[in-house]
């Protein structure tokens, strides 16, 4: 009989991997479409003479709203199954990571259920992103002092 590691290696090797090309193609096309859609909205708002600063917040807000709606309707998870990283990587993936645990946990109460679980998947993103920005902020300040 094979020993533990040998078996794990054997099982890992024979396990069918995802089909890279179609997966990546779907992610490329759907992710690209979401970004192009965001750009389209952006251009539209700018042509309506909405301030650039506002547009920069408005566009992701709309994407987040649409994601929340599709997640609530139970459509987003099926979409994501098809798009893969195409819906995961744009802000839609972040929004789904916030909405889905909240929706899923509301039976456990508004505070310790919905409220606490809202961050269970997206929390690490905010934590590590913000922490990285603090590190960069301090460095940026120090570089400024040297100048």
């Amino acid at each position: 009989m094979k020993n533990t590691t040998e078996y794990a290696v054997y099982a890992g090797k024979r396990a069918k991997k995802s089909d890279l090309l179609p997966d990546c193609l779907r992610a490329f096309l759907t992710g690209g479409l979401i970004c192009a859609g965001a750009q389209g909205m952006s251009e539209l708002f700018l042509s309506l003479r909405i301030a650039e600063e506002t547009v920069r917040i408005l566009v992701p807000m709309i994407l987040i709203f649409l994601t929340a709606l599709l997640t609530g309707l139970g459509i987003f998870d099926n979409l994501a199954g098809f798009c893969g990283a195409g819906t995961l990587v744009p802000i839609t993936g972040f929004a789904n990571a916030v909405v889905s645990p909240a929706l899923d946990s509301k039976n456990e109460g508004l505070v310790l259920g919905l409220g606490a679980k809202l961050f269970s998947v997206a929390g690490p993103v905010i934590l590590y992103g913000t922490s990285a920005s603090v590190v960069w902020g301090v460095l940026y300040w120090a570089l400024g002092q040297l100048r």
Partner: protein, 122 residues
């Protein structure tokens, strides 16, 4: 009109590329989707810090801003702006100021959706 379509095309290509790279990492490495999200945001902060991401945002617009690396870009830009204005304390306040819109929208719409809708089986 061609300018508009070109902007759309650049957003499509760059955004799609960032997604395809993530898909490759998920399919062929041990990076899970949750780890991808974290790495992308941190990578966005890093790429902005070394000055690579800003040109990409200028070139591709939402193609670079909408993916989660763009979230990292907003964090890093926010911090730079705050440090410029207020000194060292800006390192603590700038990140979340720069991303306040996205985070608040996600929380608030998340709350609304959770209150209104009922979970459905897959």
């Amino acid at each position: 009109m061609t300018g508009f379509l070109l902007k759309l095309l650049f957003a499509f290509l760059v955004g799609g590329f960032l997604c395809a790279v993530a898909q490759l990492l998920i399919d062929r490495t041990k990076l899970t989707p949750a780890r991808i999200l974290v790495s992308y945001v941190v990578a966005g902060v890093f790429l902005t810090a070394v000055g690579l991401y800003e040109p990409l945002v200028r070139f591709a617009g939402n193609g670079a801003a909408t993916p989660l690396t763009g979230f990292g870009y907003s964090l890093a830009k926010g911090v730079e702006r705050a440090v410029d204005e207020r000194g060292l304390i800006g390192a603590v306040t700038g990140g979340l100021t720069g991303t306040a819109g996205g985070i608040t929208a996600a929380m608030f719409f998340g709350l609304l959706a959770a209150l209104i809708f009922r979970g459905k089986p897959k």
